[in-house]
Symmetry: C2
Subunit: 376 residues, 2 copies
């Protein structure tokens, strides 16, 4: 697998070892004091130290902010902005999985924009204008799933209520992505599997979502094929750099495709993270088969093309169940602590989520309750 | 078919009637004196006058430069730059088919950049830096084929030698596209067919070209499906706005996909335009079946996926021949004035063309000679 560079949906430098270019890329923009925003898990891994040392050897003065953990919350953004100011930083390297990328992108937004983080929630009629400078930032994903590195939004929760809010602005698209699959080699098998099915779900839900966006449709179908061809290898042979690279690419494709929209599965998963603090990718994987069964009769032609993409004769929802099993994911929500008594609260949150209005089939409260029950 | 807006590969406003937004889009950028760059054919059509009147009614002061005709040549760029200066323009509306878009994009480049147009030829080791302001421009395609509105290059010929040169810089990507399929309704059937097969060929050659670019692959396959589903309708029922819109979208998809690369068909077509002044799309359509026959055994799996995309059991080259026939294109180069005696000169030009090095199968002088002969 060789390095390559791409120009849409944003500028991307892709390939094994490309993280070595970070220093030169910052210097090309006239930057010298990056704040590396990352999570607590990565703070303990050798590659973060190596990255810092490389940057210093190149004459830069990096600092690290690594207070991110769990599902991202507002207080992590607030202290990240403080860390940026304390370092007198001029740029960011945003390094990690979905949580770190989501927090880092909002830190970048909030450096020069006034008010509270949640003032910038998607759809807020009183949202302040995003018209000030957003510091140069390079997103460096370490999981292949969220695709937040090519997204124009972040999901940030309220520290107390755990309610997820979507912070969105077109200018939140990172100006540069360095996608180095070597950084994903150390992921535990369970995280590889759950984040991989999250990438799959982005392409599946985008492809099925309402609206006319043929470019997204094409990217989605190819992304689905790539997850089918590579995720099991990445789980079983973690050092397979071709499988890791293809999964990282499939992840960016899923997130590019979902500029079109998502669907019912994401509304369910957002509720499961809020109520049961479930890992997003795991919640997605456990909901996806039931949600696709729910959609099947509404969009039969599109379901046929999904079957072609994954090369199966089975109904697509059955193929998804077998795929979850093949990558060793649990068989149901019951196995990860979700109980029937959670369902009422889950429905309350799912029904107000912004994703399901794009779903090809309308979803009622009763539908959500039935879907959660089915997925137990 | 409703209006929609997209964000990659560049900002695009798509849909019937969207040209009415041009004035407001310019004003949003603080512009008031657009130069409309277009071709001689469009200069005589009512919609150009209507567009000018609309802009004036909106308080803008447009001027028109419409000296473009035939395959684009350097002198058209030079006089376009003069027209921009004479009008004291602050922006461009680049309106037309491939020729007008290609010339207009290079006019925009040359407004603030010094030297000769051909100094900016792709691969020139002494190319001056593209580091100055490029005036704001909106590309408005009137054919569905070239996709130049989403491309970062233009093909401009030398006025005397007719040799085609590729002017390329990433900053040549237009910052805004207004893609209004109503503007394509007046195209003659022959132009609709030839430009439509050009769009098809972009996706086909990009999909088969060497290199790792899965996002381009997905866009290409979906673009191919859309041409297959819509071109014949657009030819036979020119006012079918859904078919026209899908063809315009498929055209932008082909040109987006070919950021990955093109192939042997384009090298042949470039030679045919240079030697025999053949319309680019027509040259492509007449070469494509032979060129795909040439590629078939090198990339059999990809050929199978092309067959799925166009829903055929035939070999792909045979399907292409039948498709040309279905949209009433000629059956061979001999029917459009190309003779056996042209072949030596055609080979001389094709072999040095920049496209075929991306072709999945290597192409020798003998191969080119055989392909031209086969396509006669």
């Amino acid at each position: 697998m060789e390095a390559a560079s791409y120009n849409f949906p944003t500028r991307m430098i892709f390939g094994p070892g490309t993280r070595a270019q970070l220093g030169d890329l910052l210097k090309a923009e006239g930057k010298s004091r990056p704040l590396i925003v990352t999570d607590k898990g990565i703070a303990g891994l050798p590659f973060l130290g190596e990255m810092s040392d490389d940057l210093k050897a190149g004459g830069l003065e990096p600092a690290v902010y690594s207070a991110i953990f769990g599902n991202p919350v507002k207080s992590q953004v607030v202290s990240g902005v403080e860390a940026y100011r304390a370092h007198n930083a001029d740029s960011l390297i945003i390094l990690g999985g979905g949580a770190a990328l989501d927090v880092g992108k909002v830190i970048a937004l909030m450096i020069n924009h006034p008010g509270d983080v949640f003032d910038y929630e998607d759809g807020n009629p009183d949202m302040p204008p995003v018209d000030k400078d957003i510091p140069f930032n390079i997103c460096v994903p370490t999981t292949a799933g969220t695709g937040s590195e090519v997204g124009r939004s972040s999901v940030i929760s309220d520290d107390e209520t755990h309610v997820k809010r979507i912070i969105f602005d077109p200018r939140m698209m990172p100006p540069l992505v360095v996608a180095d699959p070597e950084l994903t080699i150390g992921l535990p098998a369970g995280v590889t599997a759950a984040t991989g099915v999250d990438a799959l779900s982005h392409s599946v839900e985008a492809y099925l979502s309402k609206g006319y966006h043929p470019m997204a449709d094409g990217i989605a179908l190819e992304g689905i094929r790539m997850v089918k061809d590579n995720l099991q290898t990445a789980v079983e042979t973690p050092t397979d750099i071709v499988a890791r690279g293809n999964m990282l690419m499939a992840s960016t494709m899923g997130a590019t495709a979902f500029q079109k929209g998502l669907g019912v599965t994401h509304s369910c998963a957002h509720a499961l993270s809020a109520v049961c603090d479930l890992h997003h990718g795991l919640a997605i994987a456990l909901m996806l088969p039931a949600c696709m069964r729910f959609n099947a009769s509404t969009v039969p032609e599109r379901m046929d093309r999904l079957k072609y993409a994954v090369d199966t004769e089975q109904p697509f929802d059955q193929w998804l169940e077998a795929f979850n099993k093949a990558v060793n994911l649990p068989g149901g929500l019951g196995e990860v602590g979700v109980k029937e008594e959670h369902i009422a609260k889950l429905v309350d949150i799912a029904i107000v989520d912004v994703c399901h209005p794009c779903n090809p089939r309308e979803v009622s409260r009763e539908d959500f309750a039935a879907l959660f029950k089915e997925a137990l």
